[in-house]
């Protein structure tokens, strides 16, 4: 019962080091390495469409991981993540344009700049809790969005701003095939960073603050520092994601970073599984592929007889939107704890197979 932990059955470790790894078993670790190695070969196999999807997954995934650190691990809801994502995009473009800082440096710098902004807006977190805080971040969303439209010097105002492609050692990452590697590297790096964060001191402090902030404080955790810091780190991730997005697209428009985007990030995190790093990635993949899959479904529907009546054809766009809403609803009804949880249950099931308990 209680000793029934989520670990493979016959798995013995002889040192704490082995016990402290990110991956539960050697097999899984090897598997992860093989997947990454295979991923490196993707540009030679997949066409740009798939690469674009992957690149989307990567920059959104990085930002979503940041949100999960804030929402899932520290327990503070943010409705302003889209705006922070946008801030990172503009900040990186701005630093590159205005100060001529090379792009590959601008990206981390944008991360830190966004972190600063995130912490500024996270300041109320020291005093405000729960949904009140969520709405305070909603305010941040609108205030920052308004700022994008207003601050010509920073964002180019309504005209938007240009972002140079990344170049490193004379290599310009301006095609999908090339950018793919940047995206892959960034994704892997930021995910490992996240995994490590969560298994070290500050990561634990975040979770402690989420689970029981009063006792966390008594255990020596500086409450306000960590509440603020989690905003900082989550914005840092958002900033990095945003900056990648900017230099991938080559152009940043003030229009893109709406409350809808923030909500989408939340959906990714919740569907993936709050407080799960692996889950975040699953959620992002889900949310990126869903519209694409539905697009395919819509195509199939048009081909059928009943699908070809005018009411349906004219409404396909709405049917698609409705389907996205519906899938989210159904998904959460049947899997309210997210994909990560389902994954865990499947694993457990097989672990004990054929004994169900």
């Amino acid at each position: 019962m209680s000793s029934l932990s989520m670990r493979p059955c016959g798995d013995f470790r002889t040192s704490y080091k082995q016990d402290n790894t990110i991956y539960e078993t050697k097999t899984i670790r090897r598997f992860a390495i093989v997947v990454i190695a295979l991923a490196c070969g993707a540009p030679w196999v997949l066409d740009a469409y798939y690469l674009t999807l992957f690149i989307q997954i990567s920059y959104l995934g990085i930002a979503a991981l940041g949100l999960n650190i804030l929402v899932g691990f520290t327990g503070q809801i943010s409705l302003g993540h889209g705006a922070f994502f946008g801030f990172g995009a503009f900040a990186s473009a701005w630093m590159n344009q205005s100060f001529g800082i090379p792009v590959f440096l601008c990206i981390p710098l944008a991360g830190f700049l966004t972190m600063a902004v995130g912490m500024m807006f996270g300041m109320p977190a020291a005093r405000i809790k729960g949904l009140y805080l969520a709405i305070a971040t909603l305010a941040a969303q609108f205030i920052i969005e308004d700022f994008f439209g207003r601050a010509e010097w920073f964002s180019g105002g309504s005209a938007g701003s240009m972002a140079e492609p990344i170049s490193l050692f004379g290599l310009v990452f301006d095609t999908d095939e090339k950018f793919y590697f940047i995206a892959l590297f960034a994704l892997v790096f930021m995910y490992i960073w996240g995994c490590n964060l969560m298994r070290s001191r500050d990561g634990r402090a975040f979770v402690a603050v989420r689970d029981h902030y009063l006792s966390a404080e008594i255990m020596g955790v500086k409450l306000n520092k960590y509440r603020l810091l989690s905003f900082g780190i989550s914005s840092f991730y958002a900033g990095i994601g945003g900056a990648l997005y900017a230099h991938y697209l080559g152009y940043v428009s003030a229009e893109g970073f709406t409350i809808f985007m923030s909500v989408q990030f939340l959906a990714m995190v919740i569907i993936g599984g709050l407080g799960s790093i692996k889950g975040t990635l699953m959620g992002v993949v889900f949310m990126v592929l869903l519209p694409e899959a539905l697009e395919g479904g819509v195509g199939l529907m048009k081909a059928t007889d009943w699908g070809n009546i005018p009411m349906v054809v004219d409404g396909l766009a709405y049917i698609k939107e409705m389907a996205i809403g519906l899938v989210i609803i159904l998904f959460l009804i049947f899997e309210p704890q997210g994909l990560a949880h389902r994954w865990q249950q499947i694993k457990n099931y097989w672990k004990f197979y054929p004994f169900s308990y």
């Binding site: 709405i135 009063l214 909500v263 809403g325 959460l332 009804i333």
Partner: protein, 297 residues
């Protein structure tokens, strides 16, 4: 200083604010009894307004008949929604439930667009005279009607929560669903009731706004607009929702005043309430009337 403009803006703010207050109350009602932050609140307005519009335009019903019928429909709608979608979520993590309401909002927004199109439509004229002059400001009669309705609804809400055992049950459910169940409270019933009421009252607001500005998918934006109002007042305070709503209404208009007269920043009308919200929360972390969480260990 242009006092006339200022006065007119303030009156305008009061009246629009009252409407925010009514929508905010529904929001609070759902929150108070289910802990759910309802992101589909705006869609209640939307669906209600479209249904009423359809009854009036297609079936040519007299206004008050169509209006009451759409309210009845919305009560059923709220209950059904709760039964089909939210009931299975009872006991699940609150944030997942909130996400479900976001999904609902996407769903109904697209559904209404599909059925009714993206073009705004006007209601048939209800009053002979569309507007009335107060302090030199013309105010739509529909708004005055809504003021009366709002006041009635507010008193009703107050009595309900203070004196009926259902009010108690709702509060208990909000505090801890498991405990509520153990006391014999049917969590499902409580949920159904609060969603039904919220949908009905919101639809009232939807119809009123629709009469003034036309019905279109943007009605649902009111759902976002009441967030600052509700938070300002305190998430779980009915009185707070009203005060918050009126405050936000007046604030918007004051922001417009100072912006247009002095600052010329542009967009202050929409954005200023959020600045003020941040400032107020800094000093009153639970809004003006929200109850503090009990922090005992």
């Amino acid at each position: 200083m242009n006092f006339e403009l200022l006065l007119q803006l303030i009156v305008n703010g009061l009246i629009v604010g009252l409407l925010y207050g009514v929508v905010g109350m529904c929001f609070v009602l759902v929150y108070k009894s289910t802990q759910i932050v309802n992101f589909a609140q705006g869609e209640f307005l939307l669906v209600g307004a479209w249904v009423c519009w359809a009854l009036l335009v297609y079936l040519q019903l007299p206004f008050f008949v169509g209006f009451l019928m759409s309210l009845a429909f919305m009560a059923l709608f709220g209950v059904a929604l709760q039964m089909i979608v939210l009931r299975p979520m009872i006991g699940e993590p609150i944030i997942s439930v909130i996400m479900v309401t976001i999904g609902l909002s996407m769903f109904f927004q697209s559904l209404t667009k599909w059925i009714f199109g993206v073009a705004p439509e006007s209601y048939p004229a209800v009053f002979d005279n569309q507007s009335l002059s107060i302090f030199g400001l013309n105010i739509e009669l529909a708004y005055l009607m809504s003021t009366v309705i709002a006041l009635i609804i507010m008193v009703g809400f107050y009595l309900f929560f203070k004196h009926s055992k259902h009010g108690l049950a709702m509060r208990a459910t909000a505090f801890d669903q498991q405990v509520a169940q153990s006391l014999g409270i049917s969590v499902k019933q409580v949920f159904a009731m609060s969603w039904g009421i919220a949908a009905t009252v919101s639809a009232t607001a939807g119809v009123v706004i629709g009469m003034v500005n036309g019905v279109s998918d943007s009605l649902s934006a009111i759902g976002i607009k009441v967030f600052p109002a509700v938070i300002l007042g305190g998430l779980d305070s009915i009185v707070g929702a009203i005060v918050g709503g009126i405050t936000i209404g007046v604030l918007e208009n004051l922001a417009e005043f100072f912006d247009s007269q002095y600052l010329h920043f542009g967009n202050m009308y929409d954005i200023a309430p959020f600045y003020v919200l941040l400032i107020i929360l800094w000093f009153k972390p639970y809004g003006l009337f929200g109850t503090k969480d009990i922090e005992r260990i």
